[in-house]
């Protein structure tokens, strides 16, 4: 198939994926609304959720529940809407992956070399992390967040950033493009999940009625957000290191405070702050959750505003 035709198929798949993501969002949203309207969960179920995992250990360790117990506490069993939502999200993800692969075939290279492609692959990775996390934990209560985010990001990217596939400029012709950029999107996927959990934690800290009651306790949400964020941090650290090695190959210095380097550093330092905050009395809880959100906001800013409006060597938006 000629590249232009492959790209047309890719777009078709991406549009279909967007449609199905939207349906998934609706299914999840209906589920949330229905559960919010449902009568209150019996009192003891709520207590069980709040009690968290282990009790107070005997050896002077803080009597703080950890999330060793699966996050889905008794009432967390997904409703029918959420199950439909998950099925839809899986279908959308399959379409989306197909679209990304077709795009790669059309361009004859990895599909992450300009802004449209970063978004295409990045959102696929975010959803992928969510879908695959199912093997580890049931995080279906994040469905509204993830399907909404996927719909919006993919929509904005196809409408505003789409460019036809073009060959790689010499500076990008490197296996580091494959490694560095992909690991960065992987990190973004985990940070997105972590932010979703942090958002729920913050909401639940304020108000615990309706469907919020069915969620894991704030402490469990925070523990999960932290674990996911830590994986993201590891990937981000790797991204930073790999980027420095690549810069050494391409530009003759491993670190030059180019705008994109600055922002990669800023994000890394914010997340380091987040990790410390989690371990600090007075910062654990909502303050550290806010830091996770600040970190994710910086990632979005780095992708959008920095790519589009800041001058620098990383001029690869393709726009």
């Amino acid at each position: 198939m000629p590249p232009a035709e492959l790209d047309a198929w890719s777009l078709l798949l991406v549009y279909s994926a967007m449609a199905v993501y939207t349906l998934a969002f609706v299914a999840y949203a209906v589920d949330v609304a229905r559960r919010s309207a449902a009568t209150a969960v019996p009192e003891e179920a709520r207590e069980l959720v709040g009690a968290g995992a282990s009790g107070a250990p005997a050896t002077g360790a803080p009597a703080r529940p950890t999330a060793s117990a699966p996050a889905t506490a008794p009432a967390g069993r997904p409703g029918r809407g959420a199950r439909i939502g998950f099925a839809l999200i899986v279908i959308a993800w399959a379409l989306h992956l197909g679209g990304a692969v077709m795009r790669g075939l059309a361009a004859g290279r990895v599909p992450w070399a300009n802004m449209y492609e970063f978004a295409l692959t990045g959102v696929a990775v975010i959803v992928g992390v969510f879908v695959l996390s199912r093997l580890w934990r049931d995080l279906n209560f994040l469905g509204v967040f993830i399907s909404g985010l996927a719909t919006v990001f993919l929509g904005v990217a196809t409408v505003n950033f789409y460019v036809t596939p073009t060959p790689l400029p010499p500076a990008l012709q490197s296996y580091w493009l494959v490694i560095h950029v992909f690991v960065a999107t992987l990190a973004t996927g985990f940070f997105a999940l972590g932010s979703g959990l942090s958002v729920l934690q913050l909401i639940k800290e304020r108000r615990s009625s309706g469907f919020l009651r069915a969620l894991p306790s704030t402490v469990q949400l925070e523990d999960l957000a932290y674990r996911v964020g830590v994986i993201g941090f590891i990937f981000w650290t790797f991204t930073l290191i790999a980027g420095a090695i690549w810069a050494e190959h391409a530009w003759g210095r491993y670190w030059g405070w180019d705008t994109k380097e600055v922002w990669t550093f800023v994000i890394w330092v914010i997340y380091a702050g987040y990790i410390h905050a989690r371990a600090t009395r007075g910062w654990r809880g909502s303050r550290s959750a806010w830091l996770q959100l600040v970190g994710f906001a910086a990632i979005i800013f780095n992708y959008s505003v920095v790519n589009l409006f800041f001058k620098g060597l990383h001029a690869y938006s393709g726009l």
């Binding site: 050896t59 950890t66 596939p165 073009t166 010499p170 290191i241 410390h276 009395r281």
Partner: protein, 551 residues
């Protein structure tokens, strides 16, 4: 009191017992108080966030180090703000006093935090695991398996094999593992400090030089051969590696088929001859493939066209014949250049204009380049006669023409057309000064020679940093106890020290191993025992006293 094998943490760490805050007394009291503040977790967070914020202006304002032309531009555009930029070092954010202050404080805090922890950890690694708590039933994963005190030796062996350090307290085994977590954490923080020191000190010995080479030309690695050169404060000219490089050929490749990307660059390759230790060899430099020569790295950082122009005086004598590098202005390689002839003609002559590799006429009659390769090369020059201003002793850029003291004689408003030439063409210079010929055009490449002695150490420290980060975040640190309670049962339980999502599974796993090995040791299938485990380990939950809610 926390047992001594726990890692040491600043006072405001969640695992530390809250210290009673007393008003500081006397000078020493105050000093100790301030030091505690500086090395607290809170300070680390605040400094980290400050560092993040402080790094941002450097991405908004052009920096001397990464974008010197941008700096010139900004200063020219905002003359009234120049004092502010300078006062706040906004063009040198990353070496400014305020940025340095933040990271120096941060690293002071880091050292203050890490050094006591190092000493503590050194001792902790030698300490015995802590005593077995009186009641295991309240700990994570509590369960029982059949066995008695005679099984404790076996339990100890199993735990050791799993990487635990063990100790016996009465009828119980106390075990601890995961010291690597703290080791990793300490190494991680130390390697950041190492990174900073190596970069700070090592870069003082390096240098960085750029040299523009027209095809066929070369240069030797000496200070005077560079167009621009910068070096660290301890750089010694005698340390310049002796080698020479000739640019034989610069190959470029542009997209020709994809309609949306016609003319997009696909490949740049500089074919060079390198002379090193008296031997000559052929080599190549590409954008992502620097060439290593005698400890230096050579990069191809840009390229362009250098038209060769010759000028004859009125009598036909050649007074000028040179390749002049033109600077590309756009993706189609429309290139701007300046040629100066201070001597040889009756008047000084300055030429300024564009080289179009693939010239096409616009509707306005002006020319433009439609494609970056040489399909229809045309040179179009404005000419100025008069004083080039070269004798005044003021350094002039070779890429700029000072026309204040000159009269335009071709192009612009001079009433005469610009001098427009294809290769091989000759044209008269207005005013009877002589003739000008566009002989041919070659490509040039800008080669950067970079020597950085920090590369290798920085690389290895970074590997250490990443490995220790993995250890520090992913190695579980936990305690495990096996206690013979005397009624034919062993009690097991664990306790997490830090993040440890897999603790329960680990206790379950230990239970399974104890039972399996127990039946192996007794040489029977022990169906009853296996059943007992089936009920307590794995998916099902212990029937024992536990306050953990389950689905």
């Amino acid at each position: 009191m926390s047992p001594s094998s726990d890692p040491l943490r600043p006072g405001d760490h969640v695992d530390s017992a809250a210290a009673p805050s007393q008003p500081p007394l006397g000078v020493r009291g105050w000093a100790r108080f301030l030091w505690r503040q500086l090395t607290s977790m809170r300070t680390a967070i605040v400094l980290l966030l400050l560092l993040a914020v402080a790094a941002i202006p450097g991405s908004l304002v052009p920096q001397e180090s990464s974008d010197p032309n941008g700096v010139i531009q900004v200063r020219a555009d905002n003359p009234e703000l120049v004092w502010l930029y300078d006062a706040l070092s906004l063009h040198d954010v990353y070496s400014s006093p305020w940025f340095s202050a933040i990271y120096i404080l941060l690293f002071t805090s880091l050292v203050g935090c890490v050094v006591p922890r190092l000493a503590h950890h050194w001792k902790a690694m030698r300490a015995k695991p802590p005593r077995t708590p009186a009641r295991l039933s309240r700990l994570v994963g509590f369960q029982t398996v059949p066995g008695d005190a005679s099984d404790l030796d076996r339990a100890e062996r199993v735990l050791r094999r799993l990487g635990y350090r063990t100790a016996r307290y009465g009828e119980s085994v106390s075990a601890e593992r995961g010291y690597l977590r703290e080791t990793g954490n300490l190494l991680f923080h130390i390697s950041m400090l190492g990174l900073l020191l190596v970069i700070g000190l090592g870069s003082g010995f390096g240098y960085d030089g750029q040299r523009l080479l027209v095809e066929g030309r070369g240069f030797a690695n000496t200070l005077s051969s560079y167009d621009s050169f910068s070096s660290g404060q301890w750089f010694d000219e005698g340390s310049l590696e002796p080698f020479a490089v000739v640019l034989d050929d610069l190959e470029v490749e542009y997209e020709t088929e994809n309609r949306d990307a016609i003319g997009a660059p696909l490949d740049f390759t500089a074919l060079v001859s390198v002379t090193e230790d008296g031997a000559e060899r052929d080599a190549q430099i590409k954008v992502n493939e620097p060439l290593g020569v005698a400890g230096a790295d050579l990069y191809l950082i840009s390229n362009g066209y250098a038209p060769r122009v010759s000028v004859r005086d009125a009598s036909g004598e050649v007074v000028y014949d040179q390749y002049t590098p033109f600077l590309a202005q756009d993706d189609a390689m429309t290139s701007l250049g300046v040629i100066k002839l201070p001597d040889g003609l009756e008047e000084q002559l300055g030429l300024r204009g564009f080289f179009y590799p693939t010239a096409v006429p616009l509707d306005t009659g002006a020319l433009a380049s439609a494609y970056p390769d040489l399909a229809n090369p045309v040179l179009s020059l404005q000419a100025f006669a008069g004083d080039l201003g070269l004798d005044a002793g003021i350094p002039r850029s070779v890429y700029a023409l000072e026309t204040d003291e000159m009269t335009q004689i071709a192009g612009g408003d001079s009433g005469t057309d610009a001098l427009t030439l294809a290769p091989g063409q000759t044209i008269d210079i207005p005013g009877g000064l002589g003739t000008i010929t566009f002989e041919d055009v070659r490509r040039y490449g800008v080669i950067e020679v970079h020597v950085d002695h920090t590369q290798t150490p920085v690389f290895w420290i970074t590997v250490l940093l990443f490995a220790s980060l993995l250890a520090s975040l992913l190695v579980p640190r936990r305690r495990m106890w096996v206690k013979a309670v005397g009624d034919g049962r062993l009690e097991l339980a664990g306790l997490a020290r830090g993040e440890d999502p897999t603790l329960e599974r680990a206790v379950d796993d230990l239970a399974r191993r104890l039972v399996d090995e127990g039946s192996a040791a007794r040489g029977d299938d022990a169906p009853a025992a296996t059943d007992a485990v089936g009920a307590t380990a794995g998916e099902a939950r212990p029937a024992g006293p536990t306050d953990r809610p389950r689905e």
